[in-house]
Amino acid sequence: MTTTVTTGQAVAARAVDVWKVYGSGEAQVIALHGVSVELERGQFTAIMGPSGSGKSTLMHTLAGLDSVTRGEIFIGDTRLTGMSDGDLTNLRRTKVGFIFQQFNLLPTLTAEENILLPLSIAGRKADPKWYETVIDTVGLRDRLKHRPSQLSGGQQQRVACARALVSRPEVIFADEPTGNLDSRSGAEVLSFLRNSVREYGQTIVMVTHDPNAASYADRVIFLADGQVVDELLAPSADAVLDKLKGLDAKVESAADASQAG
């Protein structure tokens, strides 16, 4: 396991005083309120927070899927802010992997073709040794020729994980990866993600609202009202739950206060 030292070298992705504002005037919504986070290389980070806390927005901006209103985003040493669509596409090809809540596999392709899709889109070949390792880790060897419709939800999500891993990206962003799974399949996927961090040094950033899922992470960042409010290292599910309860209470009292005022 790698260290948690936060030197420039060891940071996989970084947000510096990021603001994200939607709309203007009366309808203005500030989704991110000057967020600065550093996501360390080889760590499994979970981003948590109540609905509307800005956790998804933070992940989308970190992944280069959404622009920021102010501030800067870095993946490794690359500054994303102000990049063109073509450059962002290049970056997504080489440095970023995605796992979605809805699996998002192409129904026309087999499991194997889905896994290799990001590489073939970029016109690259998979490293055969790494590919074999990934297949074995996700345990899909006997399902490679199947279409998504012939796989269970858990299997589909494991295909999606393999797809994200196979190109060895700098960072994998996982958006509620267990949101559509039953608890057993969810646990499978999560332990698989944790293993890929522990054994292969993969950096993973996961957005979730499930404390149990967050307990698989090395570090949990808590967001509320578009700001980083807390952080927890090597969390247990109970610890996460407690923190969340505290947060909810804070948010509620703040809301009450603003209503009263």
Partner: protein, 849 residues
């Protein structure tokens, strides 16, 4: 519920526009063709009611071979001038005026060419100014070489009073006349329907137009006050006997316009044929659009079901949507179609120099347009609606993806329909009398529908095969997979393309086979080096004047000159063409004829010969007799003396030259076949013959090669016209491709977002959508080429016995062009969907539900 329907309808503007467009396009073609034919029909009616509006009763001689109602007026029978006096004595007659007015006065313009008029080239006698006719300049003709012309001709050929004008009259060779007056019809009309008219003095008209003296071809009768036209007609009929045709002005205008309407009917068939094709394509388009739309709404509908809407409510909501779209689409389609029909009609009338009757609102067009538009839309919507209503609410909410249904039912159905279609087609082509046209047309239609139903099954291997061409790139592979994703949808979209391509290919196959056959048979059967004939532009065939023929025969460069003439006769009671040769042995040489039975080397009066095939068809043997009534009225019994081999050039009954001279409307030679002496270059011989014919602008000389070329060229021109019209139908099917792809892109928004998220470039997205479009279009094109070539080949083979050509020549050039065209069209059709796919916001797309 209604509110929910309307809200969802308005919420999806693109969907609304696309489905309405589908209806608009289909209805447009149908209403356009109906409005066009209606307007033209009324235009013709107007023309004739004008011409005969001042006629009470008209008398002419009755012809055995042709009647006015059939539009065949090649035989003009003269009425002796003494009849005028006879008629004037009949009870109720106030005045009878004999006149000459027949077609066949060909005016030679200042460029040395005959002034062309589609509506006729008339020559007649000047009967003085009356209610209908007025001189606008000059005076009436008084000398034999003086003429009055209509203002239309004067304008068209830029003639003025005092100009010399050369005319080839019906019964006179080219001669120079002098324009002394220019006339107009009532209402300041330069012509009735764009025709050219030359009016001579009475004596000249009788001589040059009828070839006799003291005869007329019509006698106009005015009744005394208080005598109705019908009474007058009956009186005259009773007095003159059965040898005369007596008609009132109303009857005449009706008969004349019916004759034109008969022609217009074919015009109508032609456009309605295209209308049907367009409609078929449109039905595909509407059906497809609605099935996609409803399947996309499955989730929404399921939600309504979960909240307590009954199945019937769901179906009703979709039906209301369809009714609204159908009504609005039909309305727009009808209006646009009316505009197109009006534009077509005004183009036609201005081309033909007629006064258009103005745009009408034919009830048939309104009823057909709305019935078709609304009905087809509702039927297209109800099937997917029933499907959607059947889905269990929760299942649909959980998974909107439409599962692959087995294709067994549709395939069996397609097989049966195809079999019925092919059966009907072969029955029709084998000859089924009056039902032939219906059987052939229905057969083609059913075959196309059947193949369209089979298309989903065929699409799997074929699309995979076509798509593999593009599989070298990842977007290519994705595009190909997308196109075989939903075989039904792909097939029905491609089906619309198929219909257009199949029909074009079928017609091209028939034409190119015909064209090749003509080339080959002329090559094989014709020994002549030169062919002298003219392109017929009116009911009067271009004639080689007898003295011209004599001069050609005297040319030292030529070895054999054989002349041919033909006419319509009544043969055993049926209208038929018969031929006559001035020099039978010469014709035998140039046409390579040989006797199959009897003797063929000479035909005397009362005898005829026939070719082998015709003899077989009509069961003639040497010694058989036929009853022939010639155009000039006499009936003769002819005996078969010999049977020749069949050739491509002039099969049928050949009568003796003596009988032809006595009985034919135009006994002069219409065609001459010329063989040059050995050692004389064909071009030299041609130049020599051209020298003789320099004063006959109607007739030209062609070498054998030129003849083949010019007859094939006619097919090419016809083919181009057909293709232009069919490409419009094809255009509609292309809109279907756009429609399908757009809806697919919307349906796959989340997928596209994911692809973009994992690194698919914009350009790659573009090519993915484009390739899907190209693959679908290509699939339809290939299917259409195969079906069309098959139908064409079947038609050619079946017609072998009828027309005498049987070798199928596939139009490879056109077929390759269609394939290249399909790729281009596919790429263009993919443009809008591709732009939409490329512009997709990745983030929204991923979040898209």
């Amino acid at each position: 519920m209604l509110r929910a329907t309307l809200k969802s309808l308005l919420a999806r503007k693109l969907r609304l526009i696309l489905s309405t467009l589908a209806v608009v396009l289909s209805v447009m073609f149908v209403s356009g063709s109906l409005v066009l034919t209606d307007t033209l029909g009324r235009t013709f009616d107007n023309v004739f009611s004008n011409i005969y509006s001042y006629t009470d009763v008209q008398v002419s001689a009755k012809s055995e071979t042709a009647d006015a109602a059939s539009g065949n007026s090649s035989a003009i029978l003269p009425v002796p001038a003494s009849d005028v006096a006879r008629i004037e004595k009949i009870d109720g007659v106030r005045k009878a005026t004999g006149s000459v007015f027949v077609s066949g006065a060909r005016v030679i313009g200042k460029n040395g060419k005959v002034v062309i008029s589609q509506s006729g080239q008339f020559g007649g006698s000047w009967t003085g100014e009356d209610e209908l006719t007025k001189l606008i300049s000059g005076r009436a003709p008084s000398a034999p070489d003086e003429i009055v012309i209509n203002n239309g001709l004067a304008k068209q050929a830029k003639f003025a009073v005092g100009d010399p004008v050369d005319i080839i009259a019906r019964a006179e060779a080219r001669k120079t006349y002098k324009v002394v007056g220019i006339m107009q019809y009532a209402g300041n009309r330069d012509s009735m329907a764009g025709e050219t008219t030359v009016l001579f003095t009475e004596a000249t008209a009788q001589q040059v137009m009828l070839g006799e003296t003291d005869v007329f071809n019509v006698i106009d009768v005015k009744g005394k006050d208080g005598v109705t036209d019908n009474q007058l007609r009956d009186n005259i009929k009773a007095a003159l006997g059965p040898k005369y045709t007596v008609q009132t002005g109303d009857e005449l205008s009706k008969a004349s316009s019916e004759a034109i309407r008969g022609l217009l009917k074919y015009f109508n068939y032609f456009f309605l044929g295209f209308g049907t094709i367009a409609l078929l394509v449109g039905v595909f388009l509407i059906l497809n659009t609605f099935s996609i739309i409803v399947s996309q709404r499955t989730q929404e509908l399921a939600l309504l079901r979960a909240m307590g809407a009954s199945r019937w409510q769901i179906i009703r909501s979709v039906l209301i949507e369809a009714l609204l779209i159908g009504t609005v689409g039909s309305l727009f389609g009808f209006l646009v179609g009316m505009g197109l029909g009006a534009a077509g009609a005004s183009a036609f009338t201005s081309l033909a120099k007629m006064d258009s009757a103005g745009l009408g609102l034919p009830v048939a067009a309104i009823v057909t347009s709305f019935t078709i538009g609304i009905l087809v839309t509702m039927i297209s919507a109800v099937l997917p609606a029933i499907k959607a209503a059947r889905v269990a609410p929760i299942a649909a909410m959980r998974d909107a993806a439409t599962t692959d249904k087995p294709l067994t039912g549709i395939t069996i159905g397609g097989g049966v329909v195809t079999a019925v279609g092919v059966g009907s087609l072969s029955w029709g082509l084998a000859g089924a009398g009056d039902a032939t046209l219906l059987l052939v047309f229905g057969g083609v239609l059913l075959t196309l529908i059947g193949v369209a139903l089979l298309a989903p099954l065929i699409s799997r291997p074929l699309v995979a095969g076509l798509g593999s061409v593009f599989s070298w790139s990842v977007p290519g592979k994705l595009g190909r997979r997308n196109s075989s994703r939903n075989p039904r949808r792909t097939a029905i979209t491609a089906g619309a393309v198929m219909v257009g391509i199949a029909i074009i290919t079928m017609i091209s196959t028939i034409f190119s086979s015909l064209s090749t056959a003509i080339g080959e048979s002329v090559e094989k059967d014709l020994q002549a080096d030169l062919i002298v004939y003219g392109q017929q532009t009116s009911d009067v065939p271009p004639i080689i004047q007898p003295d011209e023929l004599k001069q050609i025969k005297a040319l030292p460069q030529l070895q054999t000159v054989a002349s041919v003439t033909y006419d319509v006769v009544s043969l055993n009671g049926k209208q038929d063409f018969v031929l006559a040769y001035d020099d039978v042995p010469a014709v035998i040489t140039v046409l390579k004829l040989h006797p199959v039975a009897g003797r063929i080397d000479h035909i005397d009066s009362g005898e005829f010969t026939v070719d082998e095939k015709t003899a077989k068809e009509r069961k003639y043997t040497v010694g058989s007799t036929i009853q022939v009534t010639f155009a000039k009225g006499q009936t003769k019994t002819l005996t078969l003396v010999g049977i020749t081999n069949s050739t491509s050039n002039g099969n049928g009954v050949v009568v003796s030259n003596t009988d032809a001279q006595a009985g034919f409307t135009f006994p002069q030679p219409i065609q001459a076949l010329v063989k040059a002496k050995d050692g004389v270059a064909v071009d030299d011989a041609k130049a020599a013959v051209e020298g003789v014919l320099k004063n006959n602008p109607e007739v030209s000389v062609q070498t054998k090669k030129e003849l083949v070329g010019s007859s094939q060229q006619q097919f090419d021109v016809a083919l181009v016209i057909v293709q232009v019209l069919l490409f419009i139908a094809l255009g509609i099917s292309v809109l279907g491709v756009i429609n399908t792809l757009l809806l697919s892109v919307i349906e796959r928004t989340r997928e596209l977002g994911m692809l973009r998220a994992i690194g698919l470039r914009r350009r790659q997205t573009w090519s993915m959508v484009t390739i899907e479009s190209v693959v679908i279009t290509l699939f339809g094109t290939v299917l259409g080429l195969v079906v069309g070539a098959g139908l064409g080949a079947a038609t050619v083979t079946a017609l072998k016995s009828v027309i005498g050509f049987g070798a199928v020549t596939l139009p490879w050039g056109y077929m390759i062009a269609y394939i290249i065209g399909a790729v281009i069209v596919g790429a263009v059709a993919g443009l809008i969907p591709a732009i939409r796919a490329v512009r997709l916001n990745v983030l929204n797309a991923i979040a898209y539900e």
